[in-house]
Symmetry: C2
Subunit: 585 residues, 2 copies
């Protein structure tokens, strides 16, 4: 500690939003270089390297091979897959001195696809899994929470290449198993959830989330079955169509002063009361207008119909439409569509075939035969008993309505959903053939016929993992690392002024080091009090803290478990053996 | 080999200029992603990682601490040191989505200085050596020779921080010793030479060059003493001033048709013969006009006087003037200076005090009292017996004249210089206080006074080392790695079709692997002939090649040294032990 390049801080950094960020800066693990861009100090780099080493071991064990692509990449391959455009402002672009276009790689699907195309030509070469651990770049609109959402970050990205879907499923399973081993070894609580597939299509996709209140991802789990999914990936089970032969004809009614669902429901119950049960928000059809911003800059209006008791969830909506971004339709844009009557918009004015021509997508619950109260496209008027399939037909469905605690599980239809928050730490993904098609990756099959290869894509963020593990394990007094990723095994504190204390501490450190134990030794003399040393040790968060102090006169030292705070007096003669067994479990 | 992600190529790649580049591509170590930007395939990555590991071990052993800075850096620190401007077109610049200016780090002096300023405040904290191994970026005008001059490359850069010059000298020596250990372990021929100090001043500076004909650097060694220097760093020993009381007055003579040194010398010998010895090129003073391009875009004319038997060496000139670039003065620029008469330019028209106002610097050999024949600034006329200090006084001296084999050694003044070419693999450098001053890095000294810290800067390029080592060790049939950096210890070739061959080879591979030997095993069956396997093994260049083939029937295998081609028949029972001892020496 007297020579280690570290200084702990008493005060929280101004820009730290979450506990892990505060503590990683205070304990001297990282420093901010620019928004979303961090420098790794020696302690932080050790944790990062340990995480990388665990990932590397498990990837190698499953037969994946490591290689390394540049971070600075030419535009052309990303043009071929359209991602140069699709990423919009989310990637860093630059030109070289000759005006050539380059980007800083956000992920490397293109480069991996091309290198396999370069080297391989036959089904006999497959399956193949290759990976790299490398800096990646995204120009996030809102970098946040320290390492949790950075603009330069470390990624392990791997890709599998198979001749057919069965092969892809097998490669996916191999990766899934390896990821489970990795996350188990990292030593923190995580959950595997269904995920959406992102920009380039594809089929099965799962995320590994660290459970964390500060997480940006919300996921749901079923109370009854083992269903778990990122809310963006929750698929509403559409009910069966309902017969509507007996349904009364749709009838427009005056509903003055009811531009919101609440005012409408109140008005309905006051003016048109029903016998069986009162009108509720869920009886109404809410039509929300948004504007889609395509990556090429074009803008497109879209109407989304959801039951009146639901909101449109922007993240779920964007999850469906990626890489398109979505924003609310503003007054100026609204004014361009005279068919739309604010507060009283109804299906009559919506749809590609309607006067407005605005595409109209609805929640999957809005199936044929269901009846709704909805806007009449006349100020102060709604239509009652509008029946889907009889009175209007939407252009399609979309998963945009919010998911709520208590919603029926779409898997078992018995349990209900409960939500929690998490940090995305891994994502595995059956990518399919889109990249191979775009870049012409084909191999000869057994019959000498060219077939397009199918791919999987698998990512873990080691730098984000540093923060997520810190976040998931820290306590009131500091960081509290799981053993496998801690910057050292043992933190030895020489607490006192006597030479005897330092002499014994040094011999203990030498002894432990010889046995392969990584020791952080607080050898500071002079003005640094034992209290300051203990506070530093607690902040830094090495799992075992050994104090060589006053007890030495009685022939004992203290061995403390940083997490449980359990403390044991150990005779100096047994010290090394005791510590080694504490470390090795 | 049946599953390794590698394919060897029979043909040389089109864009490969040097043997190492050709072979690294053909043997499946690297692939080009863009000009000067390469992807590392598994074999190449292994060599790179081994080099990095050796560097890391030696840096850690000397007490340097590893950290890691971003590659994507904000402009501000580089503005403070002026390098944002000084680098001119040689760095990659970009803007983020908010218009903030960033660069891809070419070296990290600024970031290291700032992090020490952030953490440290007292002389007690020093000395400190910190380092990183990381991707760096330079937008080279002419990337060439594969990994030898890339635009994205790996660098180990370290920096030392000391309170005073003695401390810096000690830190420099520690690094120098560590570098010697590193380069010894890498296992190839290198030489340590004096070097120039680059953009930001500084004092002592040495380079570690790999001896290589394809190298971009030319260095000289003395035949007599241990002097060795990059030609850019050779300092001519200025002779003593000569008394000129007896010198005849300068006299202009007609020398029609003598715009070149050769025509002038012929004319002098024909028209003004001397008694003691004939006129030679070395008696004339050649005045060369160039234009300096400052990083901020301004242009400045400069006149350089060298003895007529020497040329102005652009690299030596630029080495003195860095970051200024130099180009020849073109006709248009020349025409702006009416005082200059092409082919007959003399000191009378040069110098800051002259009519032209052009700064006039001369070779250090042109000392006071020396006599020269030089242009009279009149067409067809030269002045003879122009004496320095009497007839003209230059504005200063500059090391711009070329260095030649046979030149007197400037160190011992006895031996002569011999030149050779090399590849710069390491550079150690007493940087001094310029960065600390620019960025305000001060600490309190023993008396509580703020003093500016002095720094050293030390770099090795691991990615360039891969190519330089390949270049220095390859032979006619392929790569030929030194043991410490080879992608494997042993290449086992199963040569034949019998199951017995594969069975024994597999058991041998398992046996060797268990003993910690890294084996590349050519297990390919089917159409791959033994000849193809041998060619691949020779190309890939693992130091020991073991053939399990026809000899197996007689109970022997062949162990071959890739470098010496020495082959030994070894009894199968002794095979593993024999190979282990061959590997471990």
């Amino acid at each position: 500690m007297s020579t280690l390049f570290v200084r702990t801080l008493r005060d929280d950094p101004n820009d730290a939003e979450v506990p892990s960020h505060r503590l990683l800066v205070r304990a001297g693990y990282i420093r901010r270089a620019a928004p979303g861009i961090y420098s790794w100090l020696p302690l932080g780099l050790r944790v990062l390297r340990k995480i990388e080493a665990i990932i590397r071991e498990e990837m190698d064990d499953m037969g994946a091979q490591e290689l390394s692509f540049p971070a600075l990449l030419p535009k052309e391959p990303y043009d071929a897959t359209n991602r140069w455009t699709d990423y919009g402002p989310n990637i860093f672009r630059l030109q070289d001195r000759k005006g050539g276009d380059y980007l800083l790689g956000p992920t490397h699907e293109e480069m991996f696809t091309l290198v396999v195309k370069d080297l391989y030509s036959s089904y006999k070469d497959l399956p193949l899994s290759i990976y790299q651990i490398q800096n990646k770049y995204r120009d996030e609109a809102r970098p946040r929470a320290g390492l949790l959402r950075g603009r330069e970050f470390v990624m392990k990205d791997s890709y599998s290449f198979d001749i057919d879907d069965a092969g892809l499923a097998a490669s996916y399973q191999l990766h899934r198993d390896a990821y489970i081993r990795i996350f188990d070894r990292l030593g923190f609580e995580y959950v595997i959830v269904k995920a959406t597939s992102g920009a380039m299509g594809g089929s099965a996709s799962e995320e590994f989330l660290a459970k964390a209140e500060v997480g940006e991802d919300t996921y749901v789990r079923c109370t009854h079955c083992d269903y778990a999914a990122n809310v963006e990936a929750v698929t509403v089970r559409a009910p069966e169509a309902i017969a509507y032969d007996d349904a009364p004809a749709a009838h427009a009614e005056d509903t003055p002063g009811t531009p919101t669902i609440d005012t409408l429901v109140d008005h309905l119950n006051a003016t048109y009361p029903r016998d069986d049960r009162p009108w509720a928000a869920g009886d109404t059809l809410k039509n929300v207008l948004v504007v889609l911003k395509h990556p090429d800059g074009t803008r497109e209006p879209l109407a989304i119909g959801v039951p009146g008791d639901r909101e449109v969830d922007q993240k779920r909506l964007e999850g469906q439409l990626e890489p398109i971004e979505v924003e609310a339709m503003d007054e100026a844009e609204f004014a361009k569509h005279p068919a739309l009557v604010k507060g009283y918009i109804g299906p009559g004015a919506l749809g590609e075939e309607s006067t407005s021509g605005i595409r109209f997508l609805v929640d999957p619950r809005i199936v044929e035969g269901t009846r709704w109260v909805t806007g009449a496209n006349v100020h102060g008027s709604h239509v009652i008993d509008m029946v889907v399939g009889r009175d209007f037909t939407p252009d399609g469905t979309i998963e945009a309505a919010d998911v709520r605690d208590g919603d029926t599980c779409p898997n078992c239809l018995e349990g209900s959903l409960e939500s929690a928050r998490g940090i995305e730490m891994g994502h595995i993904f059956q990518l399919g053939r889109s990249y191979a098609q775009a870049l012409g990756l084909q191999v000869l099959d057994e019959n000498g016929k060219l077939v397009t290869v199918t791919m999987g894509s698998y990512g873990i963020g080691p730098s984000r993992a540093v923060a997520a593990i810190a976040e998931g394990t820290l306590d009131d007094i500091g960081l509290c690392w799981p053993r496998n990723v801690a910057p050292a095994d043992v933190h030895v504190v020489a607490a006192g002024k006597d030479d005897a204390i330092f002499e014994f501490a040094e011999s203990l450190v030498a002894d432990l080091s010889e046995q392969g134990i990584e020791v952080l030794y607080d050898d500071r003399r002079g003005k640094v009090s034992p209290g300051v040393k203990f506070k530093d040790a607690e902040l830094i968060g090495v799992p075992t803290i050994v104090t060589v102090g006053r007890g030495l006169a009685d022939g004992t030292i203290e061995v403390r478990d940083r997490r449980t705070d359990e403390r044991q007096e150990v005779a100096v003669g047994d010290a090394a053996a005791h510590i080694v067994s504490a470390v090795r479990g």
